[in-house]
């Protein structure tokens, strides 16, 4: 059903988009406006989340700030959710997506994915020890909480056939897990790691029982028309720079994410070249 809604919305947006499509170069447009508009997450700690003053902070926000600084313009952030970030980008409401977006072949048909990718995560579940999960197949037919729009939902759903209970945001899903509405929460393994290491006694009897699967690259998104235009090229250069200079590794550390093998490798590779 959700897919159906997206299909209809996609078609509507395609119609609207043809009116709004501008041939103007995106960099020129951003500079003329004096502001770059970036779609970010504000509900995905520590990549993008709120502080009590209402400001959005996090690792991805610093990347967005880097881009604004490079272009010499102001940064405007629009909070997006998985269900609307690609639509906003193609509508032109935002210039760039830095919002924990998984780089999938399907999405590449809709938006331009900037390479090299700035992060990679893998999939695992958070579950009470009492659930006694040993392997992914144990999830079959059981209720598993998940978050709307996460790239791994479909894959896990097809491979292991759990009964997915999908929530709009992470806190809702975590609450449902603690309330016993599901036996596990399907999530990014680095985030499960930080949740468990956070010291909340409520998670004392929980674990990450499975072997992480499906390493998934995350990408900054630009419009397809921008990917090979100056704007897309600039983003690629910046991305290489972030890897080479160790900026991404430093940010990861700063925001308390466990150092990911992907970033270490990419850093070595880009420094070597």
């Amino acid at each position: 059903m959700k897919f159906g809604i997206r299909l209809v919305l996609g078609a509507l947006i395609a119609v609207v988009g043809t009116f709004g499509a501008a041939a103007q170069d995106t960099i020129a447009k951003i500079k003329q406006r004096g502001t770059i508009v970036v779609g970010v997450k504000n509900d995905y700690k520590p990549w993008g989340f709120l502080d009590p003053s209402g400001k959005i902070v996090g690792m991805e926000i610093e990347l967005a700030e880097d881009v604004a600084k490079k272009l010499g313009v102001k940064l405007e952030m629009i909070p997006v959710i998985a269900a609307n970030r690609m639509e906003f980008l193609n509508q032109g409401r935002i210039d760039l997506v830095i919002a924990t977006m998984g780089d999938t072949a399907e999405r590449r048909k809709v938006v331009g994915m900037v390479e090299p990718n700035y992060y990679a995560g893998a999939t695992n579940v958070l579950a009470p020890k009492s659930a006694n999960l040993k392997k992914w197949e144990d999830l079959k037919g059981r209720k598993v909480c998940a978050v709307q729009g996460a790239y791994y939902n479909r894959r896990v759903g097809q491979l292991y056939q759990p009964d997915l209970v999908v929530f709009p945001a992470v806190p809702d899903a975590l609450n449902a897990l603690q309330g016993g509405n599901c036996i596990a929460f399907l999530f990014d393994d680095t985030l499960i790691g930080s949740t468990l290491a956070g010291g909340d006694p409520k998670w004392a009897n929980y674990e990450m029982p499975l072997a992480s699967e499906d390493p998934q690259l995350w990408a900054i998104g630009v419009r397809l028309t921008d990917l090979d235009a100056p704007f897309g090229k600039l983003m690629k250069e910046m991305s290489v720079d972030w890897h080479k200079s160790g900026r991404l590794l430093a940010l990861e550390k700063k925001w308390g994410i466990k150092t990911s093998p992907y970033l270490e490798e990419a850093n070595k590779k880009h420094r070597g070249s």
Binding site: L9, V16, D43, G54, P79, N84, P168, D172, N175
Partner: protein
Amino acid sequence: MSALAVLLPRQPAAVGSEWGAARMPSALRSRKTIAALAILGAVWTAAAWAAAPVDRPSVLALAVKWAPLIFGGFLFNLLVSVAAMALGTAAGVLLGLAQISLLRPVQAASWAVTQFFRNAPWLVLLFFAMFLLPFEWRIGGVTVPFPAWLKAMLGLALPVLANVSEIVRGGVLSIPLGQWESAESLAFSRRQILWRIILPQAVKRMIPPWMNLYAILTMATTLISVVGIQDAMTLTRGALVAEARTDLYLPLYFMLLLMFFAYCYPIARYTQVLERRFAVRG
């Protein structure tokens, strides 16, 4: 007592003394409801307080820390509700009058529009408004931005418009036919009858359902969080993400609930008062 109780419209004890029992016979019931809610909130907060470990900030401290931001979001919800109501009412009154037009096509068209928007889910209308309208208009050489909250407001105004249209039609039809007939016998024109005789009587009857609609709309404004607008609901969720504390989940949503309750409950009470005052006797 507790900080949560401060969010209530007034101290439970003050309600009875300020609103005389003669003017508002049901003040007692109202006082009980508010008191019950205050007690529930206090018990809950105390329980959460007791459960919080010593080395981490208490739930109450966290709620206080995030309250200003969430309250700011709540004011935004109110702004959207007032704007959507104003727009919906203006358009809805015209549509409602068109529904009682003697011109067959006008009546049929306005009836169709009313039925369409009245029987469509609010969230779906909101989706259409969000994704069909452009994010900016180009008028001449000037680009005028069309912000998301404005679109959301339009999206919410659609069901309001249809409901107001029905309220107007129903209000006019509720006036006994004798009023029309006697006015006609006094040689008033149709327009004169409507404006001078029927509508002044009908408006009184329209106000209570109209206020009900407003209270429902205000609570429905949290729907805009689904289409990615930073309203009180989204900000509450944002606070929950930032704190990553599962014991904060229900207390924070309860705080949000209290804000809406404190605003909508008096409206509901006053609506009932008006209903009684305008009740048709005999």
